[in-house]
Symmetry: C2
C-alpha cells in the first residue's frame, strides 16, 4: 500500500429534515451569502426551508451559477462578498454550485489575478485565508459536498480547470436524500453513472495490495448496480434514495483513493467532450470509459477480470474473457441507466473530435494520462475515435 494522508474534516449531516440544523451550524452572527444555481431551489422547497432555518441571520443571495460553473460568473460573487463583507457562504445546489463556491471562497482574499488560481493550480492548504462555507446538497453525484476539489470553466477560453486544497473542505454539508424526488430522470441517471465512474477511476487500474480499498470500491459499485436502475424510476423510495446519495458521496470523498493508484483519464477526455459539445458530464464518462478499457486492455485486463468476478459475479475461463465480459457488462449497465454510449448519439458534426481533443491536450503540454502514464496522445486519439 502506498503511503497516504487521510484528512476530511467535513461535518457531514445525512438524512431527512436535517436542514433544520442550519442555525446551529452557521457561525453565530455571520453575514451569509446563499449561493445557488438556476433557481430549482425555489421550486423544490429547498430555498424556503433554508431561509426559514436561517431566520435571524443577515442573508444576501447570489443565483445563476451555471452547470460547469464559469469563472466569469463566480467573480461577480467574489465582488459581492468583498463589497458586502460576507463572513460565510452557504452553497445550496449540486456539484456545480458547490464547486463554484469553493472557487469563490478561495478567490476573495487572493492577491493578484484570480484566474491564476486555476491556471497555475494554486493549492489552498489548511490555514490559507478563505471564506468559510457550508453546503446544502440538492443534486447528488459529484461528491463535492465532502471533498476539497472543484472544477471551474473559464468561459472566454473554454478551459475546464481544477482547484483544491485542505482549506477548501466545506465546514459542513447537509445531505437530505429526499431532495432527489424532484429531480428529472435524466439527472438521476447522470448521478448514478457519474458516481460509478468516480469509483472506476480509482479502482480500475492494476492489481495492488491495498485489499480493503479494493473491497470498498467494489462495495460502492455493487450497491450502485443494485439500486441504480430502480432509484431513477422511484426516487421517492427512501431506501433507494438514501443508498444512492450516500454512495455518491463515498465515491469521491477521498477514502477509496488512499494508498492506491488512480486513472482519471476518462474524466480528462470526457471534460473535452463537454467543452466541445455541451454533452452532460456523466454521459461523456459513459461514452469514454468502456472504450478506454478496450484500448488499454493489455495493461488493465487483470483488474478488469477482478472487477468482473467480484462485482459482476463472472466466472469465465480466462483473465481475458472475464475482462472482456466485464466491459460488456459495464456498457450494458450504462445502457440500462439511459446512457447513449456513442458521441454521435449525443452531438452532431463530430468528425474531427479526436484531433481536437488531442490538440487541446497538446496545448496544455499533456503527453500521457492514466495510472501508468501510458495513455499517450495516440491512445487518446484511438479511444475518442472508437467512441464516434
Amino acid at each position: 500500500m502506498n503511503n497516504f494522508e487521510l484528512y476530511n474534516p467535513v461535518n457531514y449531516i445525512f438524512g431527512k429534515d436535517q436542514v433544520q440544523k442550519l442555525a446551529e451550524l452557521v457561525p453565530a452572527n455571520a453575514k451569509v451569502l446563499i449561493a445557488y444555481g438556476g433557481g430549482s431551489i425555489f421550486k423544490n422547497g429547498v430555498h424556503e426551508a433554508v431561509t426559514k432555518a436561517l431566520k435571524g441571520f443577515e442573508v444576501v443571495e447570489f443565483g445563476g451559477i451555471e452547470p460547469n460553473p464559469h469563472f466569469e460568473t463566480l467573480m461577480k460573487a467574489v465582488q459581492l462578498i468583498r463589497e458586502q463583507n460576507i463572513d460565510f457562504i452557504l452553497a445550496v445546489g449540486g456539484g456545480s454550485v458547490i464547486d463554484g463556491v469553493k472557487f469563490i471562497s478561495a478567490a476573495v482574499h487572493y492577491d493578484g489575478d484570480a484566474a491564476d488560481i486555476l491556471r497555475k493550480r494554486i493549492l489552498f492548504k489548511a490555514g490559507a485565508k478563505v471564506i468559510p462555507f457550508g453546503t446544502v446538497l440538492t443534486l447528488p453525484a459529484t461528491g463535492s459536498e465532502m471533498n476539497s476539489g472543484a472544477v471551474v470553466t473559464i468561459a472566454a477560453t473554454q478551459e475546464k480547470l481544477t482547484l483544491g486544497g485542505s482549506a477548501l473542505f466545506p465546514k459542513f454539508s447537509i445531505v437530505d436524500p429526499t431532495v432527489i424526488i424532484s429531480l428529472p430522470k435524466r439527472q438521476l441517471q447522470n448521478g448514478v453513472v457519474d458516481a460509478f465512474t468516480h469509483v472506476m477511476e480509482q479502482y480500475l487500474t492494476y492489481p495492488h495490495e491495498a485489499f480493503l480499498q479494493d473491497r470498498f470500491a467494489e462495495s460502492i459499485l455493487k450497491t450502485l448496480i443494485e439500486i441504480g436502475p430502480n432509484v431513477v424510476e422511484n426516487p421517492s423510495d427512501y431506501i433507494l434514495a438514501s443508498n444512492f446519495v450516500w454512495c455518491a458521496t463515498m465515491a469521491l470523498n477521498g477514502l477509496i483513493q488512499k494508498g492506491v493508484p488512480s486513472d482519471w483519464a476518462t474524466h480528462m477526455i470526457g471534460h473535452e467532450l463537454t467543452a466541445l459539445y455541451q454533452i452532460d458530464h456523466a454521459r461523456t464518462l459513459a461514452i469514454i470509459g468502456p472504450n478506454l478499457y478496450k484500448v488499454m486492455f493489455e495493461t488493465k485486463k487483470e483488474k478488469l477480470a477482478q472487477y468482473g468476478k467480484r462485482v459482476w459475479n463472472l466466472s469465465e475461463n480466462s483473465v481475458e474473457e472475464n475482462a472482456q465480459k466485464a466491459i460488456e457488462k459495464t456498457i450494458e449497465f450504462f445502457h440500462i441507466m439511459g446512457m447513449k454510449t456513442k458521441i454521435s448519439e449525443n452531438a452532431e458534426n463530430i468528425e474531427n473530435t479526436a484531433e481536437m481533443v488531442v490538440k487541446r491536450f497538446q496545448e496544455r503540454g499533456w503527453n500521457a494520462l492514466g495510472e501508468r502514464q501510458n495513455i499517450t496522445l495516440e491512445k487518446v486519439q484511438e479511444i475518442v475515435e472508437m467512441s464516434y
Copy 2:
C-alpha cells in the same frame, strides 16, 4: 437508513517513515508532553525516532500508562500538565495510551472532580476546552487513533468507564505499519480479533437497508480473515502489516456505524471478564461473541446468515443452517488466531462469574443490552454460563 452525522477531523498519516512529519504537525513553539506506556517504545526505536523528529521543541515525558489505563495514573499526568504549562500532548503507544491521553486532555481544564467525567459521562463537544493532542500509534487494534472515544478504569473501584466527544479527536495520528514487527505474537492475535469484533458489534445485528455500510463491514471482515492468520506469523511482511493496521483503524473510526444499529453487548460483558480476571480484552471478546450469537440466535439469525453467505461463502439450505455454520466458522477463525474461547481456559475459580457480571450490571442500573435492548440480564447470565 437512519439519519446520521459523520465528523472525523483526524489528520491520519499512514505509511513508512511518517514519523518524520511530526515537526510540521505539532504546533510551532508548543511545549509538548510525550505520554507513553510500559516503555516498549525505548526498545523498538519509536522513542528515539519521536525525540529526533521533535528536536527543537521543549519536551516533557510521562511514562507508565498501563493497559486498561487507570484514572489514578492519568491524574498524575493532569497534575504535571497544569504545573508545567504544557500546550500539546503526544500519545506514543497503543489504544491504552491514546485512551489515557484523551482523558488527560479532557481533565486538565475540567472544573470539579475529574472522576465525574467518567461517572457522569460528561460529553466533550467540539469547542470544549481541552489540551490538543496527536498520536504515534505503536499497537494497532482499538481504532482509538481515529476516533474520539476512550475507556478508562477507576482502579480503586474497578469501574471500567467511557468518555468521549468531538473535542477529543486526535489532531493527527501517525500510523506506521512497520511498528508491528516488534510486537509479541499474542498482541498481534489480540489485535486481529479485537478489530474483527469491533466490526461484528456494528454489523451483526438485524437486516436493514444501509446496503453500503453492510458491504463495508463485510469488506473489513473478509480482509481480516484473509490476512489475520498470516500477519501474526509474518509481521515484517509490509503487505500484510499495512492491510491489518488499516483494517483496525477502519473498524472503529465511526464510518461503518453510521446510519445502522449496533450491539456492543460482547464488549460490555467482556469488559467485566477483564475487570474480574485480567483476561486480555480481545480474548474476552472471542469468548463472549460466539456464545452471544448462540443465545440471541432467534433475533440475530437473519444477519448471521447474511454474514455466513457473504463473508464465509456459505451456501447451506436454510437461514438457520447458514447462521449456525457462520457461528462455527467464527469460532474456528478465533481458534486459528490463537484464542482460547472458554473462560476456564483463561482464568481460575470462575464458578460464580455469571452472577458477578449480572450483579455488576445491576449496580449500574443496566437491565438490557444490544441493538434491540433484548439482551436481558437473564440472557447475559446464560451467555456467560455458556462461556465457562
